[in-house]
Every structure is written in C-alpha cells, then in structure tokens.
Symmetry: C2
Subunit: 127 residues, 2 copies
C-alpha cells in the first residue's frame, strides 16, 4: 500500500497556552490508530499550538497522501469552523492541487457523540 | 419532591458570537431531560452568550436548589477550566453559602466519550 492510497486523518483542535490541553486529542489519536491499524492520524491546531493545519497537511502531501480528511474536534459550529476553517482550507487547497481534502462535522453535530455525552451526564447526576 | 432534593445540572460551555453555536448544547440538554424525567438541566456560558454561570446558578439557588453540578462541555482542560472556572466558582460559592456545587471533568477526560469520538472517526475514514 503506498501513501497515496492510504487515507490520512487530521484531528483539528483549537489549541491553548496550556500544554495539558492537547492530552485528549493525543488520546483520541492513539485510539484511532489502535482501531485502524496503519491509519495515518495527525494532530493540527488553529492557534497557540503546533503544527497549524497548513503545516500538518503540507507534511502529509509531501509524504504522498492524496486524500486527507480533516476532523474538527470542536464542541460546536461557531466562527472558528464557519469562518476561519473555510478560509484556511481555501488557501491550503490552492497550495495542493490534486489533493482531495474533506471535512467532517463538529463533534457536537454527531448524534452518537451527543448520546455518549448525555449518557455520561445522566450517570453523573446525583440521585 | 421539593427543589432542594432535586439535583440541578448546569451545562457550562464557552459561548460564541454565532447563535448556531449553542445548538449542540441545547440538544444535550434535551437528551438529558429525556433520559432523566424531572431533571433540572440549564445551560450557562463563559462568555459571549447568556446566561453566564453566576446568573444560571443564582436562578437555581433562588428556585431552592442546594446541590448543583456543573458539567464543563469543553473538549479539554485549558486555561478556561483550570484558571477561569475555579475563579468563577470561588466567587459563586462565596455568594451562596450552604449550596453544594460540584464540577465534572471536561468532555475530553471522559473515557466513554473519547471512545465514541474514536469510533466515529474510524467509521468516517475512507477505506
């Protein structure tokens, strides 16, 4: 299997000054790699942490990937996903003609994740 | 059952200028209410949206609630949860002596939610 045939996934998170902030995203990265052996899963950030999205994708393209999926690990759709991300993608796509870049919905728009959150909250409620 | 015996849950999210941003939190609120009939579940925000946390808790206390659980619907622990939230809670607790206010971990620190996110990502990967 050469890189061009392998899907690459970029977990795109906000970023923060606090290094501990990246921990859950690293755990999700490890969990996806464990579930799909050989999957290429990288982290990228909007701000305050490295690499930024453009750099993460540049590296994947340099490695030969032609199909890249961006998963925005944001709770909800706001200005970052509705304004900032499309602008970033316009410029990234222009720099990498022939590379297919798709974008998943926000975490808060995925029914199974909302259900997992609701189940956790109900379990955490005092009786 | 009087209000003092009823657990109250506050879903605490960041807030955004974009009104659409609140949608997933409203859906989680509805899902928790559907799973635990009679549960008191309110939304509150750190900034940019109303009500802020202090106002949401003030209203619950005025309604007679003595046990309030704050669920931070943030992807990860960063400055907002490690610095801003404790400061807010200090001032809120000082204003409401005798009310027990507990705080759940961030969404990204909950194993079942990380697993739901990882499962979704694996399912979304191209083959």
């Amino acid at each position: 299997l050469n890189a061009a045939d392998q899907p690459a996934l970029v977990l795109f998170a906000h970023g923060a000054r606090d290094p501990q902030w990246a921990e859950p995203f690293k755990r999700i990265q490890a969990a996806v790699r464990a579930r799909r052996s050989g999957a290429v899963v990288e982290l990228a950030f909007l701000e305050l942490m490295q690499p930024v999205l453009a750099d993460a994708i540049k590296k994947l393209v340099a490695d030969g990937h032609k199909r890249i999926t961006v998963a925005p690990l944001f709770m909800a759709q706001g200005g970052h996903l509705r304004n900032d991300l499309p602008k970033l993608l316009d410029s990234i796509r222009a720099a990498h003609a022939g590379v297919e870049i798709s974008v998943l919905p926000a975490v808060g728009d995925v029914e199974t994740i909302l259900n997992a959150i609701a189940d956790w909250l109900v379990g955490a409620l005092p009786h």
